[in-house]
């Protein structure tokens, strides 16, 4: 995983609650293993039905076409578990989403892909939104993960809430599977013990007529 330390860039604001993962990456981009997810980001809102860009959508407007940070309202990423929602953000160039709260599965998916899902207070949401609105020529925000801070275009800094362990894993770009595989002996011991304790559960009974 690519480490995340600091990020400075244009922040796009989508001041809406409950932006779901179907909206972040619509299903037409999920039909193929190697679809261009960056192009599909917010596809339903970003394009007309015949595929032209909608000029009124924020990510089609300069300077937000090169946004690196997204500010949204509460419960961002609710709904479907599709990790392509995170891949789409990342491939577009957005490596940080700031919101008062996130859907649980999106939150997990984000950190596993080196995308920072940073929680901010409701008041901070409003102030950041306002600060960017007042600086249309330079809507640039700086995120410092180690310092847990977000700095608005007017240089005011706000607190970013990221659990310590998640922040450290992101700062290091940790390979989570490698970390768990280091515990392989312990997992094997657990499995050996529960196979004795719950023989009815393991292994899953072979189904009849199975050919693997």
């Amino acid at each position: 995983m690519t480490p995340f330390t600091e990020l400075e860039g244009v922040m796009a604001v989508m001041p809406v609650a409950n932006i779901n993962t179907d909206a972040i990456i619509p299903s037409p981009w999920l039909r193929f293993a190697n679809a261009d997810l960056g192009k599909g980001l917010f596809g339903s809102q970003r394009y007309t039905e015949d595929g032209r860009e909608r000029p009124d959508f924020i990510l089609n407007q300069p300077p937000f076409r090169s946004a690196k940070i997204l500010l949204a309202d509460e419960n961002f990423g609710c709904g479907s578990s599709r990790e392509a929602a995170v891949w789409a953000l990342e491939q577009f160039g957005i490596r940080c989403v700031l919101a008062p709260s996130f859907g649980d599965i999106f939150y997990e998916n984000a950190f596993r892909n080196g995308v920072l899902a940073g929680r901010i207070d409701a008041a901070t949401f409003e102030r950041l939104r306002e600060a960017v609105r007042r600086h249309p020529d330079r809507p640039v925000v700086r995120v410092d993960l180690a310092a847990r801070s977000v700095t608005a275009p007017d240089r005011t800094s706000y607190v970013l809430h990221v659990p310590a362990a998640r922040a450290e894993a992101l700062l290091r770009g940790e390979d989570e599977i490698a970390a768990t595989l280091a515990l392989e002996a312990e997992i094997a011991a657990y499995y050996a013990a529960v196979q004795v304790a719950r023989p009815w559960l393991y292994p899953a009974a072979a189904s009849r007529g199975d050919t693997v």
Binding site: I105, I187, R208
Partner: protein, 479 residues
């Protein structure tokens, strides 16, 4: 039956909730970062969220740790055309063949479209006896909590976690907080598990259970058949939960017994003795504890673009001005505009173009029977397309053995092969732009069923009623 290193911890001293009991039994260790590493008893794969996991696994040179605890199926992008095969939907071929090839390469059992056990992951897991009370099941799909209807922990995850489970057979997660939703009182006529969970979303909102494991409890839940409990638990994610479950009881045990992959004989007896312990201790404390009075719940139908945008079918599209919260007001106004409705108009009577009976929420045999009861002897209204898509091939075959396909055919419904179908618009079954669909599925999001699709969620009987009348109809008025 807990491993020695399991934490006996609870918010209420030694009294434990059923969720805590099952979680503790799967606890491998507490990680340094405070998360728990839990063992995954069953891992179910589907084609749209596993391909990249296998690819990355191969790139890292890692193996599938426990193929014998892993099962794969094809459901999301399959064609549901009668008599279909793996190639029927050209746009689905790539992911379907990858699923088959990955399962084969890693010696994972695979129930493809040519297998009589194929079906939607959350329909076949209980049906096969793969999901069992007290087990921990993971799938790369947000509706995995469905198996909570059996008293299992069903955890929906993304593709990175699918890869993690494939490689380690474990999941690293913060232990969810506990929440109980108690349903008391009798359900009135026409009120189903679908109506109860929609009402729950309407009452508490779609983020109400964020980070929580829900236990659905109360006399009304005890009275629900197992398939209805699966419907209820299915939509736990629609109120934000990590998972939802119903403590297993005699109904559950009777459901599980004799399932193809369930334990049998002495093993079943031993399992049942343990399953009987799977109930929350009387003095267990839940971090959040709320209730729904079922006697006040009418058959529900959604009017907006989120499952919380819901009302009784005898009510009206709300006036956004009536919401005290400004954000909710804006969302409601946008939803009503998207849906092409007007504030204050009665829900009953809204004309529909498509009626969809299917999905992991409501496509089990009992759902199809409820719809067939309404369809019998009636005709689909002119201009309406009505589809019945069984949740699995076994459901289809069981329904056909009962003659339900004749009832639907005679009434003018399409009778299709099993798959996710029109719930997710990732296959050939898509609602045309601007069309209005009443559906038994779980999400009424903008564009969910196709670009500019408009979705009204309801129970199977309500959807069948709308199909034959051509508009949203109060099932209680169908005689």
């Amino acid at each position: 039956m807990m491993p020695e290193n399991a934490p006996v911890q609870s918010t209420s001293g030694t009294a434990l909730t059923v969720f805590e009991k099952i979680w503790n039994a799967h606890h491998v260790r507490r990680l340094d970062d405070g998360r728990d590493l839990v063992f995954v008893d069953r891992h179910v794969l589907q084609e749209t969220t596993s391909a990249q996991a296998f690819e990355r696994l191969a790139r890292a040179g890692r193996a599938v740790r426990h193929p014998e605890l892993t099962v794969a199926t094809q459901d999301h992008v399959v064609s549901t055309a009668p008599g279909r095969n793996e190639h029927s939907n050209p746009a689905g071929r790539e992911l379907l063949s990858l699923m088959r090839a990955n399962a084969h390469a890693h010696r994972i059992r695979h129930f493809g479209v040519d297998d009589p056990r194929q079906g939607i992951v959350h329909v076949i897991a209980p049906e096969l006896g793969l999901a069992l009370p007290g087990c921990l099941l993971v799938c790369g799909d947000s509706h995995t909590s469905t198996v909570g209807g059996l008293g299992a922990l069903g955890i929906g995850v993304g593709t990175s976690e699918v890869e993690h489970v494939l490689a380690t057979q474990t999941l690293a997660l913060n232990r969810p907080r506990t929440m109980r939703i108690t349903f008391e009182g009798h359900c009135g006529a026409g009120v189903t598990a679908k109506d109860l969970i929609l009402r729950t979303a309407g009452t508490f909102g779609i983020a109400a259970a964020q980070g929580c494991a829900i236990e659905y409890a109360g006399s009304a839940i005890r009275a629900l058949p197992v398939e209805a409990r699966l419907t209820l638990c299915n939509m736990s994610i629609e109120i934000g939960a990590r998972l939802g479950l119903v403590a297993p009881d005699d109904r559950t045990f009777a459901y599980v017994q004799d399932r193809e992959m369930a334990p049998s004989g002495a093993a079943f007896a031993q399992a049942m003795a343990e399953w009987r312990q799977l109930r929350s201790d009387p003095d267990a404390v839940f971090e959040r504890d709320v209730a729904i009075d079922c006697s006040l719940v009418a058959p529900q139908v959604t009017w907006g673009t989120s499952p919380q945008d819901v009302a009784g079918v005898d009510e009206r599209v709300p006036d956004p001005a009536g919401f005290s919260d400004a954000k909710r007001r804006d969302l409601a106004a946008a939803a009503i505009a998207y849906m092409g409705l007007e504030p204050g108009m009665p829900l009953a009577g809204i004309p529909i173009d498509i009626a969809f009976i299917g999905s992991c929420t409501n496509a089990r045999l009992s759902d199809l029977e409820a719809a067939a009861t309404v369809a019998r002897g009636r005709r689909v209204a002119p201009g309406v397309r009505a589809l019945v898509v069984p949740g699995s091939t076994p459901v289809r075959l069981a329904a056909e053995a009962k003659g339900l396909h004749h009832i639907f055919h005679d009434a003018g419904f399409e009778w299709r092969d099993a798959g996710c179908s029109m719930c997710v618009s990732i296959n050939e079954d898509i609602v045309p732009p601007g069309a209005r669909c009443i559906a038994t599925s779980n999400r009424n999001f903008e564009n969910r069923q196709g670009p500019r699709s408009r979705t009204h969620l309801a129970s199977p009987a309500m959807v069948a009623a709308a199909a034959v009348t051509g508009c949203v109809t109060d099932i209680r008025r169908m005689t």
